[in-house]
């Protein structure tokens, strides 16, 4: 299959501009975050006195059916925690940041699509493309959150930081020239297994960010409650949403990613059976996928176990993401098994 090299170059240009857009967004978010008003701390503290009727993440139009009056809604936990953007400069910065995030997402999508068209196959045939897809999904999760909850936009910094780091690594260490698939990958299962793996990786990435934010917030609250000095990184926490909301968001994101990851691992096993007549061989890549799966299953369990909910369970998420990273970088770059996926020489 011939490669359209000029289109592949277009894809690379879009990739570079994606990083630029995300970096601009990140800088604006960072400035906005650093100089946002401090009133939010007090507001957040007030709102943690739990209201009778809990209102959580899913947006609910205030009030019931139009005919029946309802008592005034208690303040939204997440909303209260958002910084009061009093100054115009901040509002402009925030606007630029969100616009740049959307733009970056569009650029990343274009880059991936043009890459796919240029090589005439799905654009997740090597590690560079895999990371691009996973980051695209991670940012998509974030876009969904800010469309539903615009007041959370100042948290974009925390989402874009790992994304930019990963994309940077993808563009340098992992980069692979546009090329057709190596024979081992030429299968319908590539479409199924790898897309599921990359998508769930992207959701896990977002979940990891939520988990870290929760741990920051939780640590901050605990330090305040015990009257201890708050040091970095917990000094970042006062402007984060209420701890419980973050914890719940973390869980929901993982409740979405985990079945998808399970499916990805199983689809991989079916592919292995189709290609190698054996579905599981404890190849390093398979082994680490299994390890991640077990760690995330342990998280779901721990969260349902008395005494583990909260901080301890959420630490397992951090561990889970660490295993994903080991699988992505250490296994692909250092060890090689049958998975001829890396495309890194």
């Amino acid at each position: 299959m011939p490669i359209d090299q000029s289109l592949a170059d277009v894809s690379n240009t879009f990739f570079l501009w994606t990083i630029v857009a995300y970096t601009v967004a990140m800088s604006c978010y960072a400035i906005e975050y650093a100089f946002g008003t401090r009133g939010a701390v007090a507001a957040a503290a007030r709102s943690s006195a739990a209201p009778v009727r809990q209102r959580e993440l899913v947006g609910v139009a205030p009030g019931g059916p139009a005919t029946t009056p309802t008592p005034p809604e208690p303040p939204d936990e997440l909303e209260t925690a958002a910084p009061g953007l009093r100054s115009d400069a901040n509002r402009v910065l925030g606007g630029i940041a969100v616009a740049a995030t959307f733009l970056g997402f569009a650029l990343a999508l274009t880059s991936l699509v043009t890459r796919g068209v240029s090589v005439g196959r799905v654009p997740w045939g090597n590690m560079y493309e895999f990371v691009c897809l996973a980051c695209l999904v991670g940012v998509l999760c974030w876009l969904i959150v800010i469309i539903r909850r615009p007041q959370l936009r100042h948290l974009g910094l925390f989402v874009l930081l790992p994304v930019v780091l990963l994309l940077g690594l993808a563009g340098t260490v992992l980069y692979a020239e546009a090329a057709p698939l190596v024979p081992a990958l030429n299968s319908v299962w590539l479409k199924i297994h790898v897309s599921a793996a990359a998508t769930s990786s992207g959701i896990f990435l977002f979940g990891f960010v939520c988990a870290v934010l929760y741990l920051l917030r939780q640590g901050y609250d605990a330090r305040i409650a015990e009257g201890r000095v708050v040091k970095f990184p917990f000094t970042l926490a006062p402007r984060l949403p209420v701890a419980e909301s973050l914890e719940r968001l973390t869980f929901r994101v993982h409740a979405l990613a985990f079945p998808l990851w399970t499916f990805a691992v199983i689809a991989g096993a079916i592919w292995a059976e189709a290609a190698w007549t054996r579905y599981w061989g404890w190849d390093p890549k398979e082994t680490w996928a299994f390890i991640s799966w077990v760690v995330y299953a342990a998280y779901l369990h721990a969260r349902a176990t008395a005494g583990w909910w909260g901080k301890r369970a959420t630490f397992i998420v951090v561990l889970g993401w660490a295993t994903m990273m080991v699988n992505l970088f250490v296994i692909n770059l250092v060890q090689t098994g049958l998975h001829s996926y890396a495309g890194v020489n």
């Binding site: 009727r53 809990q54 959580e56 029946t68 024979p183 007549t277 054996r278 760690v295």
Partner: protein, 538 residues
């Protein structure tokens, strides 16, 4: 006698108690969690150190690189992690724990599923979602039927109505309803399917086997334990139990991009399986490709690797001709390949058949499928054959081939060279058809090359079980994670001139959407009974 038997009973009783406590510990979720973690941790060395079952050559290399560490690791099963007793122990404990907890969970979760929604709690106002409505001029019965109708319109199906107190017309009525019981069912299915997967995996590892073999174009391979280069059987596999089949390789074909990246591999085979195998030439044609394995009766075969096998024709000083293809190992992506051709029977006088130790012959070879145009021809420019050639180093002496020390057939024992047992005669680059006369009048000709493929053959009787379990696992997981179990309680109490309706909802902490649903339910009920709003806080 009596005393001691009483003591026995006591001890037995204590043991039974301890046993039950131990069992309780084992089947708790916490234990499963710990075992799960242990399993993950136990898998890490398996992904860190080379594994014999995957790549024995890497284990040998590890032995060479870490001569002190390797034997210790080996004793701890570090190179056979997934066949180690400690891995099996964790696996087995997890299995027991899971089975045990399934049994108790079936009791806990299936019963309510059959019995229906529970009783209405005494103090509804303590529940997280709570509302009160008052109707005027309606009895609890009449109100209850309106409420029921409203709930049914909202798709609440399992509703239980209870009437408390006999007082005619003034009875207190409670309604309890439940939705999303599928959650527990999904959860049960998931955990049960997990056990099924574990069973499938266990069956596969006990009764399954796999082996690796190399076949040169024109060669044939028949399925028997001793014809494998490496073979790893499950614990309960008997040698006789291995299904017979024979495969012959007609032609191997590989295509590449101009930059040398492989595009496609395919191997044209003939095979015969079942009872006829081994009795006549393999007959059924098949094209073996990557992602397109050969499935035969009782085993599957897939392509792992390929390379070249140069054919040398050596004519010794007595005129005896030795000719066979020798598989060489590819060393880079352009298939520069290395190997040795050892002829321990060369230069024996055919009249006396006496073995003359010092005239055995060996060649070390460096084969390139596409050589450049200028010497030294040691680099390959392209993986396909374009301008092939081989650089040979000829040795004569004692190869030590039957000295009993096992060693790689792809390289020469260098200690024989340094000890003087083998003498280097010189080196020469040959193209196909060219030959090289050695000093004793013998001659070697590079005839050309054939291709070889290496395959893995395996048999896994547990894979369908595991697949079934895996599919059920995903389905159960989806149901369990995406259904919300929620309960609704209604209490209708007669008041002066009407009925007071108390409404309460209960769900898991993760179901924030239920608050919204509760609002809708409250609105619907209020409309249905045309009630006045009542202040919630009382």
């Amino acid at each position: 006698m009596r005393v001691s038997s009483v003591m026995h009973v006591k001890i037995l009783g204590r043991l039974a108690l301890q046993g039950r406590q131990l069992w309780g510990q084992l089947v708790s979720m916490r234990t499963a969690l710990v075992l799960l973690f242990l399993l993950a941790i136990a898998a890490i060395p398996g992904a860190t150190f080379p594994q014999r079952a995957l790549n024995p050559a890497k284990v040998t290399r590890y032995y060479n690189d870490h001569p002190t560490l390797a034997p210790i690791l080996d004793r701890l099963w570090g190179f056979d992690v997934f066949a180690s007793p400690w891995f099996a122990a964790i696996y087995l404990l997890l299995f027991i724990s899971l089975t045990g907890c399934l049994i108790s969970r079936i009791r806990v979760h299936l019963l309510p599923l059959i019995l229906g929604p529970p009783k209405v709690p005494a103090q509804l106002s303590k529940l997280p979602l709570y509302a009160v409505l008052d109707t005027s001029a309606q009895t609890p019965e009449a109100t209850a039927s309106s409420v029921l109708a409203a709930l049914r319109r909202l798709h609440w199906r399992r509703i239980r109505q209870r009437i408390h107190g006999e007082a005619e017309g003034a009875a207190e009525i409670t309604l309890s309803a439940e939705r999303g019981q599928l959650r527990e069912l999904g959860n049960l299915v998931f955990h049960f399917a997990l056990v099924v997967v574990l069973i499938g995996v266990a069956v596969g590892s006990l009764w399954g086997w796999k082996g690796g073999a190399l076949i040169v174009e024109g060669g044939q391979f028949c399925n028997a334990v001793q014809s494998y280069d490496q073979f790893s059987p499950g614990r309960l596999v008997k040698d006789e139990g291995i299904t017979p089949f024979c495969v012959s390789l007609r032609k191997f074909h590989a295509s590449y991009l101009p930059n040398g990246q492989p595009v496609n591999y395919s191997a044209q085979l003939r095979y015969t399986d079942g009872a006829a195998a081994g009795q006549r030439e393999p007959r059924h044609p098949y094209t073996l490709e990557v992602n397109h394995p050969l499935r035969m009766d009782g085993a599957g075969m897939f392509l792992i690797n390929h390379g070249y096998a140069p054919v040398l024709r050596y004519t010794d000083r007595y005129g005896t001709v030795f000719e066979s293809p020798t598989p060489f190992l590819p060393r880079d992506s352009a298939l520069r390949s290395e190997g040795v051709v050892v002829l321990p029977d060369a230069n024996q006088d055919p009249a006396t058949r006496k073995r003359t130790r010092n005239s055995e012959v060996a060649f070390e070879g460096l084969y390139v499928p596409t050589a450049g145009s200028i010497p030294p021809f040691v680099r390959s420019l392209y993986p396909a054959r374009g301008n092939e050639g081989i650089t040979l180093l000829a040795y004569r002496g004692n190869t030590g081939l039957d000295s009993g020390v096992p060693r790689s057939v792809y390289s020469l024992d260098q200690s024989r060279v340094s000890s003087g047992d083998l003498k280097l005669l010189g080196s020469k680059f040959l193209r196909p058809g060219q030959s090289w006369k050695l000093d004793d009048g013998s001659q070697v000709e590079f005839v050309g090359s054939k291709q070889w493929m290496s395959v893995e053959v395996s048999h896994d009787p547990g894979r369908l079980t595991a697949l079934t379990g895996a599919v059920a696992m995903v389905l159960g997981l989806l149901v369990s994670l995406f259904t919300r179990r929620r309960r609704l309680f209604v209490r209708l109490r007669p008041t002066t001139g009407g009925t007071r309706v108390e409404l309460a909802g209960l769900t898991r902490a993760d179901s924030e959407a239920f608050a919204a649903e509760f609002d809708r339910i409250e609105g619907a009920i209020r409309n249905a009974v045309s009630a006045e709003p009542t202040d919630n806080k009382e």
